[in-house]
Amino acid sequence: MSGTDGSSVATPAGKSSGGANGAVVKSEQIVEIVSDSGEGAQKAGQTFGTISAKMGNGVWTVEIIPAEIKPPARSKAGASGIRVRIASDNVTNMGDEADLVVAFNEQVLYGRIEQHAYKKGTVVLLENKWAASPMAEVQKQYTEAVKEFKRLGLDVREMPLEEKCLEFMPDPRLGKNMFVLGMLCSIYGRDLQKAADEIAVVFKKKGEKVIELNRSLLQAGFDYGRTQLSDLSVEIPPRKEIPPQVVMNGNQALALGIMASGMDVVAMYPITPATSVSHHLAGTFHRAGGILHQAEDEIAAIGFAVGASYAGKTACTITSGPGLALKTEFLSLAVMAEIPLVTIIVQRGGPSTGLPTKVEQGELLTAVFGATGDNPKIVMAAATIEECFHFVIVARKLAEEFRMPVLLLSDANLATGVQPFPRPEPQAEWLASPFDQSPWQEGVRAYDWDHKTGMSTRPIPGQVGGEYVLTGLAHTEESKVAYEPEANQFGCTMRSRKLASFQSTLRTPVINGEPEGDLLVIGWGSTLGAIDEAVANLQADGRKVSSLHLRFLSPLEPGLSEIFARFNHVMTVEINYSDPADDPLVTVENRRRAQLARLIRSRTLCDVDCWSNVHGQPLHPRDIYDEIIGRLDSTNGGEVK
């Protein structure tokens, strides 16, 4: 993966064997379609992924998103498209280098090569119309590129994609994505009928004519593949017995989780990459009895949700880093006044406006600590798309039970990644129970804290005899403004105690691998799949490495110190900033470590190291593998001093 000039490709690896009809049988394949934005690559890739999932393969798709909305055509920075990883087994991450890429122009391919997306032998199916471009400059760029790609060891096949589509439509730019889909279906032995059905779903709103046209393009691509690319045929056998599945991205899973949790109100202000949760809710939420409120800003959104929750209705607000920053004052109010509230944060790159469409796990410490004063709140993170669905339900219940805000972290990787998972069967107990309007029990105070647990029940407006004034000021158990210094100490203690009570109900996290060894790798959030895969490869190589993935970050899951004690070294792998240990001015004391590492160090007093970056990309298993091997083989294996 490493290169001196950035234009390098890795040496291939992977298992394969001979299959039927000359197809090579492989356990997995990574396929990309890259293009200028707006050329339909993502639609073709998503459809390809869905067809594969329907055929029983494990699938993970991830969008390749340029930083700008309309980057210049034919530019490295404009590389847009999609990666689809298909396997015989469950797929949990986007993997390392692609096996095959369809490129609509050579410049976007350069962009991907710079991001180490390919290896020697990666098949490149390249649009060749540029060779005959009326612009001499373009012709030259194209010819040089093909030479360069071959020099790098890529298996370049030039082909007339648009020309082939001209038979069907005057502007083939709009149709070649379905031609490509057909080609991929032939290479990977996809069921053509399933593909045709899928086209009907994708173009449902566009009408029968468009569906027919796209089906013709699909067929043409399929025929082209069969006749011209038969040597590329690969068979990826499906998984065996699997329970009924659904396939979706993380934001769709969050939206469905919100509905399945019986949430009553979702208040939000648009922000990438969280916004599409609201798009999914917009047309459907009302069917489950909920409402979506697009507020005037993030502060108003959380205020609206807090108001609804105060009035006994379950409420949720959704945002990303910049919006979370704005919400912190209301989050402290929800802590102080003990208002249940679910806040979903789909993280992106920071600081500030940062990398709006890119992956980062940079909001952990803001989620745990960012607010005024002492702020005990529950913070949890989904590690998979399936968890995006189920964790909303958990979060809502915890918020109500512990009468406090629960922050649920997701990120851009989960938001746009598409993966199949067992189809959830909605349960009545997942729904919020109707709000209580019976008379309030006499003698019970608004904050009748159980001194052992800090827990209490809250009156809901409408309950006769429960009248109280909620306040963000320090208050007594009666919710009266507190003028005694002890009252604030006591209130803080009670609210903090709730976290300890909750932690006592959590189980010690499961260790992936042996319970002792040279190195324990800790992760959180969307890196689960990549870390697991890297660790599995290390274990297969006989390395004494195990991993552990946290879902609860506040309170932390219990038993960590004991687990750590059985490993020589402990490190986190994260997608957020940390100082490289060998930076000239960095010392063991002043080193700013990755966020989970900081959190765990302060909680466990263990010397937890970290490896992280802020490239804005999901982690490759290979990079994690290489980093760990490097550390294990260095003299101390731990933090470079």
Binding site: V247, A300, P426, G462
Partner: protein, 317 residues
């Protein structure tokens, strides 16, 4: 015998609330603060409309005036500086059965919360908003407010406030979907009562700017109007706010103003050296956001589960 008694003993309905039923904690405003007048007017309105205390929520931000909910024996929400309106809207969105009263100061509403103010007017939810306009920051002790008159000496502008004041009434009249705008003063209790009561009856957001004296920081600010009764103009109209004839008689200066007349309302909100009180603008036919947010309130669990199942099925493979 018993029957006879029934003829002359008036039987009280089971929930006959008295003023005392709305008494919350002892109000801790400075002696002479205009907020006391508003508090007693609201309690009377509650009694006269027999609002069950458990069905009312007083929502506020932060400021002296925002202490208001603590002094009512209803439900209350004393939240964050500037953020009363989003909270009030969130409560109302799913609880049409609750009466929402918002208490907000001129700093709370027109400065830190100005964004929410614009949008709350546009949402036009069925809530009553009382702007306690004392032209100064009270709680934080005498800083300039956006409504401070130009030249007012404050702790942050010791040689006099630099900028001309923002006119909350004129501004509100300019916001889209505005439906009810009135002005009143703390020193005329009958008018204060009548105005807030009319606001309460209005369906949609009613915005009432109350000129409120701060005895500590702006004690003489309204003196020119108080001392010269001709400067206080009572707005009258058959569609306006009705006050008792005895009260009306006391006004030396009256103007008949049709509250559907927006241009007239804007003119009356910008009088030089004078103050028009009463109903400036009323449009009963505006879009009310509640009508969208009240959707599906009584949906039962079975229907919800069915819908969720169907939505999940759309992703099935």
């Amino acid at each position: 015998m018993i029957k006879k008694e029934a003829d002359w003993i008036q039987e009280l309905p089971p929930n006959q609330y008295t003023i005392e039923d709305y008494d919350g904690g002892e109000a801790r405003w400075c002696p002479g603060c205009g907020d006391f007048a508003v508090l007693s007017a609201v309690k009377r309105i509650c009694r006269d409309n027999q609002i069950p205390p458990e069905k009312m929520v007083a929502v506020s931000g932060i400021g002296c005036s925002s202490r208001f909910p603590h002094y009512m024996n209803t439900y209350g929400f004393h939240g964050l500086h500037g953020r009363a309106l989003p909270v009030a809207c969130g409560i109302k969105a799913r609880r049409p059965d609750l009466d929402i009263w918002v208490a907000t100061g001129d700093g709370d509403c027109c400065s830190i919360g100005a964004g929410h103010w614009i949008h709350a007017i546009r949402y036009n939810m069925n809530i009553t908003v009382m702007l306690f306009d004392n032209n100064v920051y009270g709680l934080t002790k005498n800083q300039s407010s956006p409504t401070s008159p130009q030249g007012l000496v404050t702790s942050t502008h010791p040689s006099g406030t630099w900028l001309p004041p923002l006119n909350p009434t004129l501004a509100t009249l300019g916001f889209t979907n505005v439906s009810f705008v009135a002005q009143t003063v703390d020193w005329n209790p009958p008018h204060l009562y009548a105005t807030l009561n009319a606001a309460y009856q209005h369906k949609g957001l009613s915005f009432v700017r109350i000129m409120q004296r701060c005895p500590t920081f702006t004690p003489n600010l309204f003196d020119p109007i108080i001392n010269d009764p001709t400067r206080l103009i009572l707005l009258t109209h058959e569609n306006g706010i009705e006050v008792e004839p005895a009260v009306e008689k006391k006004f030396k200066n009256k103007v008949v103003h049709d509250p559907s007349d927006m241009t007239g309302a804007r003119d009356l909100s910008t009088l030089e050296g004078k103050l028009a009180i009463g109903l400036l603008f009323h449009d009963p036919n505006t879009v009310i956001y509640d009508e969208f947010t009240n959707h599906g309130l009584d949906m039962d669990a079975g229907d919800k589960l069915k819908a969720v199942r169907e939505e999940i099925a759309r992703f099935a493979i």
